[in-house]
Amino acid sequence: MSRANQSSDLPIVALVGNPNCGKTALFNVLTGSRQKVANYAGVTVERKEGYFLTRSDQRIKLFDLPGAYGLEAETPDEQVTLDVLRGRLPGEQRPDLIVSVVDATNLRQHLRMVLGLRRFGIPMVLALNMSDLAARHGLTIDTVSLSQALGIPVVRTTAIHRAGVGDLLMKIDEVLAEQPVTADIAIPVITAETIAHDHEEVRRILSTLGVLDSTALRTSDHIDRYVLHPVAGPMILLCCLFVVFQAVFIGAQPLMEGLNSVVESVATFLYQRLPDSMVRSLLVDGVIAGAGSVLVFLPQIIILFFFILMLEESGYLPRAAFMLDKLMGSVGLSGRSFIPLLSSFACAVPGIMATRTIQNPRDRLMTIMIAPLMTCSARLPVYALIIAAFIPAHRVWGGVELQGLVLLGLYVGGIVSAMLVAWLMKLTAFRNEQHSLLLELPAYHMPVMRNIAIGLWQRVQIFVTRVGTIILSLMIILWFLSSVPSPPEGAVGPAIQYSYAGQIGQALSQVFAPIGFNWQISIALIPGLAAREVAVGALGTVYALSAGTHDVSGALTPLIAQSWSLATAMSLLVWYVFAPQCLSTLAAVRRETNGWRYPLIMLVYLFGMAYVASFITYHVTLAWTGG
């Protein structure tokens, strides 16, 4: 009898287990995929699929399911896992085989899930993952005894080092060939009795394996004495953040200069070789000045994500969540909000999706509403441009880079404002009791350079793809709107002033004049709605057409330093801390909240905050500088 699913050609295998047991790492190894892997729970919130070949060249469809602590489906992501196992996900067949992934260093917790999965009656293989870490902790697990106790095959794996994968593929082949197809699966009913029975069964199995009383203090526990210390812990966290933002400015400088000179050379080459025409203007003033101005910030993005990925991989981030739980609780946020908010530092869209791990609907909504206040990577080019133009590259307090300090201040500003908004929401619309945080602290391990490299490569791909697609397209349209119609006979001033974009910018500048924005900035804000970093490219194009220079990617920083006052620059920085300059985020909120109500509320409150904060900043800075 074929193992193939009745309505599909390929057998389906599902990776199931507790959060942070290495399912996605195993998925990547089996399928050759590059899904995100991190050393904390809740990275996978949707089921992902891929394909692989077994040792007998059988093609298999593989599902990577969100981690679940049990089969009670208390959160939306756990519900996805349960629905797939029950075969109730629309358009999906139930799996033919489960690969139950467990963390070998934490069998007491993970085996309960295995016992629950066994009740479905679906053939199963146990992947005893992180076996290397268990061995290092002195845990010797007899796989034969474990297999006999559970009644399923057990394979030792270390997914991040690709160890044991061959054995796993062999076992999958064997089980798919041997075990008969069951037409109907059991739908287990979870009661207090079954949970108590499972706890007892886990104790019995661990006792049989002789690992029940393994209470030796691990290396992680030693490290946690300092990292989670009430005084030293927050200091270490602050130091980590400080080092990251210093490195973003100090480390990126030579690389940025190199990239800048390449962009300038291309612009000069095209300017000199092409005849004076609209095509030359499109390439030099639109494409190079626009997209090139954004591209030069790639080194800063790489350095920022290198540090974030290192912290993720090492297992430090859940500790940071643990330390911040009290603070988050005091403003009405759930401790579970930490990971979604942390994801929002890369991009608010995955952050908003990661709120699916939050059980309480009010907590989830509150986290969604403040996620855009976390400083996403798209803001970095805008911040870096303005900081480089207006903040001197001085060292203060014995060698601290001032520019890096201002950048850290902007990130902290985003966090503080998010906490304030959460606190206001708690007092008004989202009154709710505080929920306790149950968070699994994974063992520390040395970051795996392959995962870091994959993570960085993905960020580079995302950034370069955005520059080459949406940013480039918007720059071409902006160039067009900035170039037509031609100025009238006898016109004085740059041609862009008479163009469609110039007219729109001048109309908008009436609205933005009270917060210090000129018509060039007002133009840049419109394409900036598609993606925040587009504003930098838009400024590049607008100033290239205004100034008639061809190397604006390199000259944009001195150009804005000459054209803007300090008050305008500070006002724009503050605008970008708050303004909802990203349509994708609003679309994600609409999808996650099933309606337009919350995206509209978010749009209004964020624009309101941005305008008020910029107004205050502009006028305070004007008064301070005597402008």
Binding site: R34, Q35, K36, V43, V45, E46, K48, S277, M278, V279, L282, S343, A346, C347, V349, P350, M353, A354, Q458, Q461, I462, T465, T469, I470, L472, S473, L474, I476, I477, F480, A530, L583, S584, A587, A588, R591
Partner: protein, 83 residues
């Protein structure tokens, strides 16, 4: 002649960019219509040649939906060709 070629080229580039911006910022139904329109005009082979691998933010639901959408369109296009 060069003047008009210049103008035609610019109009083409701007038009393609405008369609791409609508595609990138549009809802899934807008994306579906644009992709279906492209496959209808140029055929599935040209589309498959030009379509980049879905990548980017792997947690992003939009990316996942787009991937599913492209797969569906490819399947339906294949079905049309097989008829």
């Amino acid at each position: 002649m060069g003047y008009w070629l210049d103008r035609v080229f610019i109009v083409l580039v701007v038009a393609i960019s405008a369609v791409y911006v609508i595609y990138a910022l549009g809802s899934m139904s807008v994306k579906r219509r644009i992709l279906a329109g492209f496959i209808h005009c140029f055929g599935l082979r040209i589309y498959t040649l030009l379509s980049p691998k879905t990548m980017g933010c792997t947690h992003c639901g939009v990316e996942l939906q787009k991937k599913n959408l492209i797969r569906q369109l490819k399947q339906s296009g294949q079905a049309d060709q097989n008829k």
